[in-house]
Symmetry: C2
DNA sequence: CTGCAACGTTGCAGTCACTGCAACTTCCCG
DNA sequence: CGGGAAGTTGCAGTGACTGCAACGTTGCAG
């Protein structure tokens, strides 16, 4: 895409190599059994370099790349202005996670890893929170609301991402085929004002 | 209350002393400037003992005591069975946080600390998550829904606690007088199905 | 009252995540 | 081609957290 020189490209490659090594090793041996030195060695890089790209070992395992995050943000920005925020965010994530088998696998693999290793739950929330704070500014733009003065932007983003996370956790058990349906079901609960479902 | 012997009482006192020291020191010097040894010394206890009561330094600073958590859980359980979960949780937290000046101060002090030190944001989410998982089982009981099969329980708890957290953050700026109103406003957004507010 | 078992506290040694700093190398740009 | 910017690396250090083996108290049963 936008190739900004050899330097940038190598940096991205390094980051990607670390992230891939971290996730693979965590899946293989469990996150707590993997050291930063292991990750660095598997990525062919110095341990110090891992922390030049990630603030935390867990972030190296679960973190979402800035590119992927920027794509999601732009996609939300590009939704029709008349569309309410919940619907806009829901559409973007439903689309992004079911666009291809690779995309679905990317998200489901992380969800399965977190489900298998509850120690990662906090790291998952941290990762979600990072995306959340960025999305809040987008929703603030779209709605013209000041996030410090009105709870709406942070609240709608927080709930929408929680819905996606919970749907992913369910699909991690039930299989990829259920992913789209799981996300839509969860978002429907939000749109209904949390009316208790009548089974 | 339920005095289960001298041993239990001393254990609770130890835990309380550590928590108080941790919070006080964090407020005074900033969380990152406080070591576990500092906390232990201020609490008159061995550093090792801190980790017998708390899994993490941040948990010692922000953690909610099991008693307080149990009270909240029981309060939700005791709400009328016909009341929908969102309303039940909302009522309990609104009540608990505005019941007394002490209660409001307890929650607002933590919110202010987190606002002043973003490093604590993740720890706050971790603390919330712990309460969340316990509340999910309560909502599961109330609704008769299996949390693994249906997203509703986890979703409604997640959204409700997010509303409370966001309202606390706003009240941390605006002052304790706004607390009740802030919580009610945030919960109203949820009940309205995230209809975009028309200013 | 007395021993015995359960439990909380402590010290110790060790591992490992994470940081600041100072080279060193490589790429970019004038 | 020269100089500055940026990424990588090694090193030394701090501090969170853990397992383990005493140790002293408390609770309980005989």
């Amino acid at each position: 895409m936008t190739d900004l020189g050899l330097r940038e490209r190598k940096k991205h490659e390094t980051r990607a190599a670390i992230a891939r090594a971290a996730l693979d090793l965590a899946v293989a041996h469990g996150p707590s059994a993997v050291t930063v030195d292991d990750i660095a060695a598997a990525a062919g890089v110095s341990p110090r370099t891992v922390f030049n790209h990630f603030g935390t070992k867990d972030e190296a395992i679960l973190g979402i790349s800035p590119e992927r995050r920027a794509e999601l943000l732009d996609a939300v920005r590009d939704r029709p202005a008349a569309e309410p925020p919940l619907r806009a965010i829901g559409a973007v994530f439903t689309e992004a996670m079911t666009a291809s088998d690779d995309a679905a696998a990317f998200w489901l693999r992380r969800a399965q890893l977190v489900a298998a290793h509850p120690d990662l739950r906090v790291a998952q929330l941290a990762s979600q929170d990072q995306l959340q704070q960025e999305l809040v500014t987008v929703v603030a733009e779209r709605t013209g609301l000041d996030p410090d003065a009105h709870p709406y932007p942070e609240l709608v983003v927080s709930a929408a991402l929680a819905a996606v996370r919970i749907a992913l956790a369910r699909a991690a058990h039930a299989g990829p085929a259920r992913l789209r349906r799981a996300i839509e079901d969860a978002l429907a609960v939000l749109a209904d004002g949390f009316a208790p479902p009548t089974t």
